[in-house]
Structure formats: structure tokens, C-alpha cells
């Protein structure tokens, strides 16, 4: 193990190098570009034996990735925002064909209103695509999840692509302390990819045929079961990772100060860090607050959340994107899972377009959650930092 000062983008590139990805199609887009730049450097230095294939668009990038993965090689790519949107069509070619591609999406607001800063409105719409989705919080987790993602995706009980999401700039360009594992340790944790079937002229198969209605329901159900079964694999891989490297992330969710918490916040990505600092402050003041870091949006941790939230007086959800007139997507998902639990839930929308989230903002969120038990005072959704006329 060596200690390095790395940005999350560079930490991902190290993860990809250690995972020995063989084909890397790429199209540049901020704030993802640092990943591809470092991978290109690794390849030209002979430190990574991979083909980096510049394609003419993100749509083509995913097409190349599909071909490579179908050909039986470990495949990686990364994108952001408008790039992910342009890939949308090809994203759907991956899960049903059961191709274990790993992609990093560096969360960036999807325009218009355009910008380069973090928002989750690029990746949230892709929940329906059949990709697994994990949101990470720091550079170490970005590297570790790149490794875990391959082991999860390639598990024969899963065989689904994984999208590792990390917040643009707040994480992608933030340098911090990262433990980079040794190649030998990684090889032991992540054996070489053995494809279930691959495109091979000597043993022809047909992939991605047109499917008449007699089969679609069964194929979709198969995918639904695979996504559901992946929950166990996520936990097992996290346990195995912890045994190998000493770091575990709790699998689908990560709980903080939840044992005796009366009020809790569910949050994903980098906002979890700042929320944790707020929890520390509030705990020191004697307030019984806790934090649930939602790591996976797909598979969604339905059972885990019902268990973690039972007995709470009130719950809040922090959303970094919004479905207009229907709250944020995380709120909608959490509400669905906690239906009938009796726990009042409020939605807290913030950090849009990369607006800064401070410890003070998070303290305010907790105060609103605490207040939400008082009848009559409660709104269901708060837009934090919104400038509006008072009174």
C-alpha cells in the first residue's frame, strides 16, 4: 500500500489501472477529463496494458464499450452530464445483454440551465436503465468502489453494469489522502474477468436480437431478479473488500450515529460528509440526530432503510436534483419504501448547479426535520438557500 495525495478523478484512474481494464473508450467532458488524461498517461508509460479508444461522441463510446464487453474483455469508461444524456440510448443495450461494464459518471448539472458544477439531474433519470448505481463520498471510496464495482458486476449472480457516481469538482478535483493498494492485493481480490459468453467466430452466438412480446416480460423479470439479487452480492463484496483492505462501506447504506437517533437525514454523495460534520456538532449539543448515507440507488436498499428508520420520530431526505412538482427523486424512492411506517418525511432540495452546502445549511436541515413532528407547521419540501421575498 502507498499513500498518495489524489483527486477523486485520479483515484478512479488508479482503480482502473489496478483492475487492469483492457478497453477504455473515451470522449472528453469536464469534469471527467482528468480520469482519461491519467489513464492515457498510464498506458503511454506502459503501466497499463489497455486500448484507449477515442470515439466521436458519447453515444459511440458506449457502443464501443458494448462491443468490447461482448467480446469478453474488462471495459471501462467515464462521462458526465450531457455526455451521459447522449449515451442514454446505448445505456439500455448494456443491462439486458448482461454486460458487466463499469462507468464513472462525474455528476454535473444537465443543461439548460447549463454549468459545469455538481447536480444529480444527469444520473438520476438513468435509474430506469438497468444499471446499478452507487454514489461515493471521497477519493478513497472512489478508488475502492471502482474495484468493488468490477467484482460485483462480473459476479455471475449479477452480470449487470455499474455506474459509479461522484460529485463534479467538489470531489472530482479535490485532492486528499488516498491509500493506493498493491497490485498483488488487488489481483487476489479481483480475479481476471471470465465472460459468460463472448463474441467468438469459432463459436458463434447472436446477441441483442429483436424480441417479440412473447419473451419481453420474462426477460424484464429476469433483469428485475438479477438487480434484486445483487443486493446480497453488494454486501458480500463489501465484506470481502474489508477483509482484504481493512476498509468497508456498509454495502447499500452507511449508518452514522443511528443507534439511538430520533431524527435522521438520508443523503448521498459528498453532501454526506458535510452532514456528518453537522451531526457531530448537534450530538455535542445533546441532540439525538443521525445520518444514513444512501450509497446505492440501484439496487435500492428497501429492507435496509425500513430497518434503519423504524422508530424514528422524523426523517429528512436531501436531494441534489428535483422532479418538477414531484419532489426530488431520492425522496420519492424513500417515501415508497417507508410507506406505512408512520415516520413523517420531509424533502430538502439543495446544492443545485453546484451551490455550496455548508455545515450551517445542514444544521438548518436537521432543525427543520426536528420541527416536522409539530402538526400544522410542516411543509413537505424545502428548497434550501432559495432567494424569495420574505413574508
Amino acid at each position: 500500500m502507498v499513500m498518495k495525495a489524489l483527486s477523486a478523478d485520479h483515484a478512479v484512474a488508479w482503480g482502473v489501472r489496478l483492475a487492469k481494464a483492457e478497453v477504455i473508450p473515451a470522449f472528453p467532458i469536464t469534469p471527467q477529463t482528468l480520469i482519461m488524461e491519467l489513464l492515457a498517461e498510464f498506458i503511454s508509460n506502459g503501466e497499463l496494458d489497455a486500448d484507449l479508444i477515442p470515439a466521436e461522441s458519447e453515444h459511440s463510446v458506449m457502443s464501443v464499450a458494448v462491443g468490447a464487453s461482448a467480446g469478453g474483455v474488462r471495459t471501462f469508461t467515464a462521462t458526465a452530464s450531457q455526455g451521459l444524456a447522449l449515451m442514454h440510448e446505448m445505456l439500455y443495450a448494456v443491462p439486458q445483454n448482461r454486460l458487466p461494464i463499469v462507468m464513472v459518471n462525474v455528476n454535473r448539472t444537465l443543461g439548460a440551465a447549463g454549468g459545469i458544477w455538481a447536480e444529480h439531474n444527469d444520473s438520476m433519470p438513468e435509474r430506469e436503465s438497468g444499471w446499478m448505481q452507487v454514489y461515493v463520498e471521497d477519493s478513497q471510496e472512489a478508488l475502492d468502489m471502482t474495484l468493488q464495482a468490477y467484482r460485483i458486476a462480473e459476479d455471475e449472480r449479477v452480470l449487470l453494469p455499474v455506474m459509479v457516481c461522484l460529485d463534479g469538482f467538489i470531489l472530482s478535483h479535490t485532492v486528499e489522502k488516498v491509500e493506493v493498494p498493491e497490485q498483488g492485493e488487488v489481483d487476489a481480490f479481483l480475479p481476471a474477468f471470465v465472460p459468460r459468453s463472448s463474441l467468438d467466430p469459432s463459436e458463434p452466438v447472436m446477441m441483442n436480437p429483436i424480441v417479440p412480446p412473447e419473451y419481453t416480460t420474462e426477460m424484464r423479470y429476469q433483469l428485475d431478479r438479477a438487480m434484486d439479487d445483487s443486493r446480497n452480492v453488494v454486501h458480500q463484496v463489501d465484506e470481502a473488500f474489508k477483509a482484504a483492505f481493512g476498509r468497508g462501506y456498509g454495502g447499500l447504506i452507511d449508518e452514522y450515529m443511528m443507534d439511538d437517533a430520533e431524527f435522521a437525514l438520508i443523503v448521498l454523495g459528498t453532501a454526506a460528509s458535510t452532514a456528518r460534520a453537522a451531526v457531530d456538532e448537534l450530538r455535542a449539543e445533546g441532540r439525538k440526530v443521525g445520518l444514513i448515507k444512501l450509497r446505492f440507488m440501484r439496487p435500492f436498499p428497501h429492507d435496509e432503510l425500513r430497518r434503519a428508520c423504524s422508530g424514528l420520530k422524523a426523517l429528512g431526505v436531501f436531494d441534489r436534483s428535483v422532479s418538477f412538482n414531484r419532489y426530488g427523486p431520492v425522496f420519492t424512492e424513500v417515501s415508497g419504501s417507508l410507506c406505512g411506517s408512520g415516520v413523517p418525511i420531509t424533502d430538502h432540495i439543495g446544492g443545485l448547479g453546484g451551490r455550496d452546502i455548508t455545515v450551517r445549511d445542514m444544521r438548518k436541515v436537521f432543525s427543520l426535520i426536528e420541527a416536522s413532528v409539530e402538526e400544522g407547521k410542516v411543509k413537505r419540501v424545502y428548497w434550501h438557500g432559495l432567494r424569495e421575498a420574505k413574508g
Binding site: 499513500m3 495525495a5 483527486s7 469534469p31 439548460a112 440551465a113 454549468g115 459545469i116 458544477w117 469538482f169 467538489i170 470531489l171 478535483h173 479535490t174 485532492v175 486528499e176 489522502k177 459528498t270 453532501a271 460528509s273 458535510t274 456528518r276 460534520a277 457531530d280 455550496d356 452546502i357 455548508t358 455545515v359 445549511d361 432559495l386 432567494r387 424569495e388 421575498a389
Partner: protein
Amino acid sequence: MAAQTLAEAAILGGHHAQAFPYFGAERRGAPVRAFTRIDDKRISIRSQIYEPDMVVILDETLLEIDPVVDGLRSNGSAVVNTRKAPSELDIGVSVRCATVDATSVAIEALKAPVVNTAMLGAVAKVLDLVTLENIQKAIADRFGEKLGPRAAEANVLAAQLAYDGTKEGRCLGARSIVQRRMWLPEWDEVPTGVALEPEHIEGVAVGPGSSIQNMTGTWRTSSPKYDREKCIRCLRCWFTCPDVCIKRLEDDHVKVDYRYCKGCGICADVCPVDAIDMVKGVHEW
């Protein structure tokens, strides 16, 4: 670069550290902000820094255009690139202060006025959390990897020279801190449909994140000088200026808006009769 190298030096010293830039619409030489946090435990907060313990100012002239010392308390400290001694320097708040002529140091060591690494040498002198040795090691790592061993060596030297030349003391806090004039409308005042109204300011869009707040004229390192006598009024410059900084007068002569001119030189390049000359430095005529 400097913020990240500082974080790396702190990590080499066994601390936890975090460094990140604030990205706006900018280019090299434009004013940028970057943040570094150093702690003995894992750093959880990921917001920008609003109440810094230390402010490092790489360009003294920023004091005129940006509230760079906002949030700095009297028990904080500052490191400033200037020829002045701390006691002669007024940054708007009186704090423990270290000054160094980093520009001269950089020109001596690097043959270019790029002051990042020199300023890190000065920081090493006043900040207990990092040693000069670790700063130099971090510089060698970062620059060696990117630009090769000679660049690394020159930058390590810049840090050393700055370290040796740093003066410590207390600066003055008499001047008033400039305020940024940011347009922050309430939600129902934001122009509908991301459509920016032209307003009556030449060459400037008004609206969310618009250039009215971004005085791009401060980015300029050379300035277009217009010769009215030579001008044949073809309007090529007016048409091609990427920042709409060439103002068309009623008689089709032109005028440069220096508040926003970035000094790209395109106008001088397209002028068929050399009526625009690019002059080194920030000037207005």
C-alpha cells in the same frame, strides 16, 4: 496547483488534508480561488472556506478588485506576494503577516513570473503544519511528474529562495475591503427561460452567471491600441471580437471596451490595415 501541493506537503507530514479549486469561467492568469484544509483527523466538511485561518495572496493587485480577505479574523494570518514589508502593507485587516517578493524570486528561479511555488516557500516559513522539506518534496513530486526533473529542481529552488526572503510581522488594516457586486435576484426576478436580456451595456450579457459581474478586462496581459487615422471602417474587428468589446460608433469608427477586453488580439489580427496594435501590459486609451 499551490493549494494541492500544500495539501500534499501536509499529508507527507502525517496530517489529513483536502484541497480544491473554485472553478469559474476563466483562463490562466485570471483570478482564481483555491482552498486547503489541514487537520489531524479525517476531514468531513466539504464546503468552501468562509472563515479562513490563513489567506495566501499570490497577486497584491487582487486587493483592489476582490474581497480576498473576507472572513479573515484578527487572530488569523496572511502571506502576501509584495515588495513591501508587513508593516508597510495594508490588506484591510491587521493580522500576523508574512511578505515575500515572490515575483522576483520566480523570475530568478524559473525565468517566469509564476509564483505558486515561491509562495509555498513563504507559507512553509509561517505555517507550523508544514515543513519546507515536505513542501519541497511535494513540489518535486508534482512538477517532476508533469514537467520533468529540471522544472522540479527550479521550483524547489524558488521555494527555498522565497523561504529565505520572507519577512514576518503584522500588516495594517486601514483600507476598506472591496465588495463584489454580484447580482442575486429572487427567484421570480430571474429572467424566464434562461433568456438574457441585452440591457444597455455594450458587450455585456446580463443574467445568471453573466459577464457583467465578470470583469474580464482584468485578465488582459496585452491591450489593443486603436489608430483612428489608419482605420478604414471595415468593421472586421467589431464583427470578430469574441467578447463583443469593440463598440461600433455612429460613423463606423470603433472603440474598445477595456472593462471586458481580454486582450486576445483577434481584432489586431483581422484588421487589414494594422489600425490596431497589441501593446504589452494593461492599458487603456
